[in-house]
């Protein structure tokens, strides 16, 4: 396979879903079966992505293939110099793996949806939107520059808006779509300002050009501080999209969308885009930036995990669990465990999609019942759903022989090693604690949903196992949650092809004095690009090796403890949950009400904005327009006054003059007698007077 061929296939599979979107949208109302086209297109996309991945990983393992074209060319401009905006695609191991994940899950979700969405009045439109989403997501994955990343980033936002609010007749769904878009945009502002800084400094959007210039010591505003800020601003985009604290509030609400959408967008792909973005810019993150990223990640792992403990909506539990797992990935990136972060992204995508689709299968069977308090005992009715759900739950809990064990253990070990080197022990503590919470709430979910006696008999009676098109994706995804796809050694992922071959350690571009010490590689001769030595010092590699076994044992114990507690609470009922809740009423409410994030935001940001808008609206009407109308009023008043003045004084004067002349006329009329003699006398007298007057001259 040649590079050109791979580029061509990549471009084709990028635009295939877009074609599906356009065709399905435009013909949707005319042709009932047009959704088959969308599904077929996705199948081609999946095939293409696998071909590329195969070609890339076998023939071009270490090379990065890019291809670009000039989208906008302003030429040589007077002040800003040469301005050329290139768009293009980048094929490296990360992007090809990600493409396979996106296409595979998207394809499975398409298949699942055929049955799940049947009977919906906007059936074809739904598939069209899925196509738009897949297109946008592929764009994020394949881009070689940050502008195109932003473009597709926003497109993902809008397709998510459309899909969350797909049942827009429900107010809660419409609200959730709007909330998702706006909250995401808040993060995007940060990302956009970050892009502004990058472009102003480097006059290009292309990742590689920017990275090369940074590695040559050309920093934004010539300071390491601003490099940190830039990295964090771009990371703000990831906070929004990956639903990290404090912008996580949109994700649980997004569960208003159809459940397959939740599986595709809000578990496996879109929310992973934030992590993917950080993966892409990892090479320019300074130590300060990484520390803050790790803190955000740790908070996002911890807070939602505590919320998930008490939720009763099956999808809400999974949603908070998603935020928590994404927090793991972000934290892993922050502590430098790059490979494991991306590895966890992949494994999580599969088992979380499986969990969501499983919950969809349950909801479908229970006629849109989502409250786990009304479930129970479904194991017998829905064996396939149950066992696939169980496998995925075991995986997310980090039990050996699953993929989740491999990746999560790596993250925990990474944070432990990081703590050993830098002294930030809070990260591993949070990591291990959250691992226990995860195991607990996942098994609480399983026990309440599938075990025990049915609590809503009527719905239980109607429940049934899902059809093949819905069951097949579950099976595929759960099988993908087992270790052997990733490594032959179930306890050490480092032996496997994914970590040792496919995911490469990234090149770092930051100046060495802004990095962690352990991320300054030792002087080596003959370093293979992509090997560990390119990124870490030997101390770190040694620390990782030293920590591997203890971390593994610890995480095993902790996962076991979580599962055990769940059984004690809910299966064997050895501990009375009700009593415990009574005892810790405050804590329970705090968790049940999601730490009051929504309330706090409503009280401050939302109401503040709305209040301000009303205030300014009134200000505009009363003050600004008031001044205009006031001016008009004064002018009018003044003109009335002038009018009066004109009428009374000026006209009065005129009238007075007229009156005066009339009066004078009246006086003089007396003289006009009409008698010639009198006139003659007047004339004579006048002449005499005149003579007297002129005599003096």
């Amino acid at each position: 396979m040649t590079e050109n061929l791979m580029i061509n296939i990549a471009v084709i599979i990028l635009f295939l879903p877009f074609l599906g979107f356009v065709v399905t949208l435009l013909l949707g109302s005319k042709i009932k079966k047009i959704y088959y086209f969308e599904n077929f297109v996705l199948f081609l996309g999946l095939a293409g992505s696998i071909i590329i991945a195969f070609g890339k990983l076998t023939s071009f393992d270490a090379t990065t293939i890019t291809s670009e074209f000039t989208w906008i060319n302003l030429g040589n401009t007077p002040i800003m110099g040469e301005i050329k905006i290139n768009l293009g695609i980048l094929i490296d191991n990360i992007s090809t793996l990600m493409m396979v994940v996106v296409m595979l899950i998207s394809f499975l979700v398409h298949i699942f949806s055929i049955e799940y969405m049947r009977g919906d009045p906007r059936y074809n439109r739904y598939f069209a939107y899925l196509g738009l989403f897949t297109f946008s997501m592929s764009g994020i994955v394949l881009t070689h520059n940050i502008l195109m990343m932003y473009i597709f980033w926003e497109l993902v936002g809008v397709s998510s808006y459309l899909l969350i609010g797909f049942w827009f007749e429900k107010k809660s769904a419409a609200d959730a779509g709007k909330k998702a878009f706006i909250v995401n945009r808040i993060g995007d502002i940060g990302m956009f300002i970050g892009i502004l800084i990058l472009f102003t400094t480097y006059h290009t959007f292309t990742f590689d050009d920017i990275f090369q210039q940074i590695s040559q010591g050309h920093l934004p505003f010539d300071s390491g501080f601003w490099l940190t800020i830039t990295g964090l601003l771009i990371f703000a985009g990831a906070i929004g999209k990956s639903a990290q604290v404090p912008l996580h509030v949109w994700l649980p609400d997004a569960m208003e969308g159809p459940t397959p959408v939740s599986a595709l967008i809000h578990a496996a792909t879109m929310v992973a885009a934030g992590v993917y973005l950080v993966v892409r810019i990892f090479g320019i993150l300074t130590a300060d930036a990484m520390l803050i990223i790790a803190v955000i990640g740790a908070l996002s792992a911890f807070i939602p995990a505590t919320i998930a403990l008490t939720q009763n909506d099956i999808k809400k539990v999974l949603a908070y669990s998603t935020v928590s797992q994404l927090g793991y990935m972000i934290m892993a990136l922050g502590v430098g465990a790059f490979k494991f972060a991306f590895f966890h992204l992949i494994t999580h995508a599969f088992f979380k999609a499986c969990l969501f689709l499983g919950s969809g299968s349950v909801i479908h069977a229970m006629h849109h019942e989502q409250d786990i308090r009304n479930m129970g005992g479904l194991r017998k009715k829905m064996p396939i759903t149950y066992y696939t759900f169980l496998i995925a739950s075991v995986a997310i809990s980090g039990v050996p022989l699953t993929s989740g064990f491999l990746s999560k253990d790596g993250i925990l070990a990474g944070s432990y090693a990081f703590a050993n080197l830098t002294g930030h022990y809070l990260f591993p503590i949070v990591g291990f604690f959250v691992a226990m919470l995860t195991a607990f709430y996942m098994f609480r979910l399983i026990i309440l949903t599938f075990h025990g006696e049915p609590r809503d008999k009527e719905k239980y009676e109607h429940a049934h196992e899902s059809k093949f098109t819905m069951a097949m994706p579950l099976v595929v995804l759960s099988v993908l949650s087992i270790f052997f796809w990733y490594t032959p050694n179930p306890v050490n992922p480092e032996d496997g092809w994914v970590l040792s071959d496919w995911i490469k350690a990234p090149q770092l571009y930051t100046p060495e004095n802004t990095r962690y010490e352990f991320m300054v590689p030792d002087e080596h001769t003959n370093v293979q690009p992509g090997s560990e030595e390119i990124m870490y010092s030997e101390t770190y590699v040694e620390a990782m090796h030293a920590i591997h076994i203890p971390a593994m044992i610890l995480s095993l114990l902790i996962a076991g403890l979580g599962i055990l507690l769940a059984y004690l609470f809910y299966q064997w009922k050895r501990i009375d949950v009700g009593k415990l809740v009574e005892k810790f009423k405050g804590l329970y409410n705090f968790s049940f009400n999601k730490w009051y994030f929504d309330e706090a935001y409503d009280a401050t940001a939302v109401n503040g904005t709305l209040g301000l808008s009303r205030l300014l609206g009134r200000f505009d009407l009363k003050i600004i327009d008031g001044i205009v109308n006031g001016t008009a009023y004064i002018t009018k008043g003044f003109s009335t006054f002038i009018g009066k003045f004109d009428n009374v004084v000026v006209d009065g004067l005129v009238n007075f003059m007229a009156y005066l002349s009339g009066f004078i006329g009246l006086v003089f009329r007396r003289f006009q007698t009409g008698k010639v003699q009198t006139y003659l006398v007047f004339v004579l007298v006048s002449v005499v007077i005149l003579l007297f007057i002129f005599k003096s001259f």
């Binding site: 002040i79 473009i151 808006y161 419409a174 301000l612 300014l616 505009d620």
Partner: protein, 533 residues
């Protein structure tokens, strides 16, 4: 020598007006078709101009690189009482700054004609005034002589006044008078500065003498300044700063810039739909066009001093307009305030005084023209059917009118700058340009809040009107008819095309924008060399 295309495109509507006036009163349909034909030919002419446009010529200050130039002496009086020689040129020409706006005017007027089909009150007067307005708008964008520019500027005022005042809503008289007086106030400022500039600029005549001139290009050349002119930089006691402020205020009223914007919501709410479309689509751009064409190149040294304030007002427009829009309950008023917000981006981009900023500003003018035209048409469609614009009175229209809602989605997302649609690239360029200028960087960062606020009020409106349960009251509303398709499809096509391929427009203006940026820089150097400031 080519045909006088620019005169043709400018005065063609006058021909139409005469035809409309000559038609008997009952021939309403013929009047509509005449107007549609005339505006249609205008679009064809505009496209013809575009296809024969030479992308490598800059224009701006240099007559030789203007295109489709028509220039001859119009008024020339040798000894006009104490003034001496008075001369006015008939001087038309287009460059990369005016061509997009000529195209925009043609397109928006054509669409507005289609949208005028529902007008049924004294058609003769309506279409006659409509066509007169068309001439006025087109004239402003093609004139290169200040006097001529001013005449066209005033020419469009009168028909606008009547179109709002006669065919408008319940408070039409108030709105029309407010519009008229406010704009007239602006015109007076412009008039005063124009006269001041006239007596400060001389142009060499064929016979070797020098005479005062209204030629805008001559005014840009500092060599033409008289030694004692009141607005001449060579005069140590010149009033250029005050004149700049006055001129800017004159144009700012039209944009409309905060705090001169309050005529806009009233005018929009009362104006009939097609007039709103023209008002927002074309008229507002005259303000920013005037600043680019007149204020900037004639007063570059003062522009340089004031960029921070221009950017600040841009920021205020963006943020303040967005907040005000959020507070509105009348759909049309909301869109009117969104215009205030979006025109702020134009101001911000111009203040950057670099290629990306100014390109972004012009592109934003064009994009705002098409997008806002769509938004007002959207309001019009619903007002025609429901006879109300109360946002909270609707709900769930997406079920009842799916195709219409599809166009709504395109327009709304274009307005909030979704990539792939035209609004994104102009906003991004404005920000990229403005952020590159250290002086206005902080202002630019604050302005990015507009991205979120815009999404906020637009999506909130989208939800309240189109999503949710269908309000039973509206279950009888029909989806779009053929004529409405004909309005929405071309505009959507432009919005999508320019979103995907913005170079179509950027290449058109690039040479001119570059030469403008270069010119402003050079002239600033010149002014500092003669030590006027």
């Amino acid at each position: 020598m080519h045909l006088p295309y620019l005169s043709l495109i400018t005065f063609l509507p006058i021909v139409g007006m005469i035809i409309v006036l000559a038609l008997p009163k009952e021939q309403g349909k013929t009047m509509k078709i005449t107007t549609l034909l005339i505006t249609g030919i205008q679009v064809v002419l505009a496209v013809f101009l575009l296809s024969n446009y030479n992308y490598s010529l800059g224009g701006i200050y240099d007559q030789a690189s203007f295109q489709f130039v028509e220039k001859f002496r119009w008024i020339d009086i040798e000894n006009f009482s104490w003034i001496g020689r008075i001369k006015v040129d008939y001087f038309l020409g287009i460059d990369g700054i005016s061509t997009p706006l000529v195209l925009l005017t043609a397109i928006v007027t054509f669409i507005a004609t289609l949208s005028s089909w529902n007008i049924n009150k004294s058609l003769k007067g309506y279409f006659a005034l409509f066509l007169l307005l068309d001439t006025g708008m087109m004239g402003v964008f093609v004139s290169l002589d200040f006097f001529l520019f001013y005449i066209f500027w005033e020419l469009m005022l009168l028909p606008m006044y009547f179109l709002i005042g006669i065919w408008g809503g319940p408070r039409r008289e108030y709105a029309a008078i407010k519009f008229f007086l406010y704009t007239l106030l602006g015109s007076i400022f412009i008039l005063i500065v124009m006269i001041g500039l006239y007596f400060s600029t001389t142009e060499p005549m064929a016979d070797g003498t020098k005479a005062f001139t209204f030629n805008l290009l001559a005014m840009m050349d500092p060599n033409n300044a008289t030694a004692t002119g009141i607005l001449s930089a060579l005069n140590p006691a010149n009033l250029r700063f005050a004149a700049y402020i006055a001129l800017f205020a004159g144009f700012a009223i039209k944009i409309p810039m905060f705090p001169f914007h309050t005529w806009l919501p009233d005018a929009h709410v009362e104006a009939p739909t097609p007039i709103s479309v023209i008002l927002a689509g074309v008229l507002l751009k005259m303000g920013t066009y005037g600043i680019l064409r007149v204020s900037f190149p004639i007063f570059p040294e003062i522009t340089k001093q004031l960029v921070w304030y221009i950017a600040l007002f841009g920021m205020i427009n963006i943020i303040y307009g967005a907040f005000c829009a959020m507070a509105q309950r009348d759909f049309k008023k909301l869109i009117a305030y969104s215009s205030v917000s979006h025109m702020g981006y134009v101001l911000l981009g111009m203040a950057a005084l670099n290629t990306m900023g100014i390109s972004g500003a012009i592109l934003q003018m064009f994009n705002h023209g098409t997008i806002t035209a769509m938004l007002f048409l959207i309001v019009g469609v619903i007002y025609d059917r429901a006879h109300t614009r109360e946002i909270d009175g609707f709900g769930g229209l997406a079920v009842q009118m799916p195709v219409y809602t599809g166009f709504v989605t395109v327009a709304f997302f274009a307005a909030i700058g979704l990539p792939g649609l035209s609004g994104f690239i102009s906003e991004a360029f404005v920000f990229l340009g403005a952020f590159g200028v250290r002086l206005i960087r902080v202002v630019t960062i604050v302005s990015t809040l507009g991205i979120v606020l815009g999404a906020g009020y637009m999506l909130w409106t989208l939800q309240r009107v189109y999503l949710g349960k269908l309000n039973e009251k509206w279950s009888g509303l029909k989806d779009l008819n053929f004529r409405e398709y004909a309005m929405f499809i071309p505009l959507s096509a432009i919005v999508i095309f320019l979103g995907v391929y913005p170079s179509a427009m950027l290449d058109l203006m690039n040479t001119s924008v570059n030469s403008m940026v270069q010119f402003m820089q050079n002239i600033q150097v010149y002014y500092s060399s003669i030590n006027v400031f």
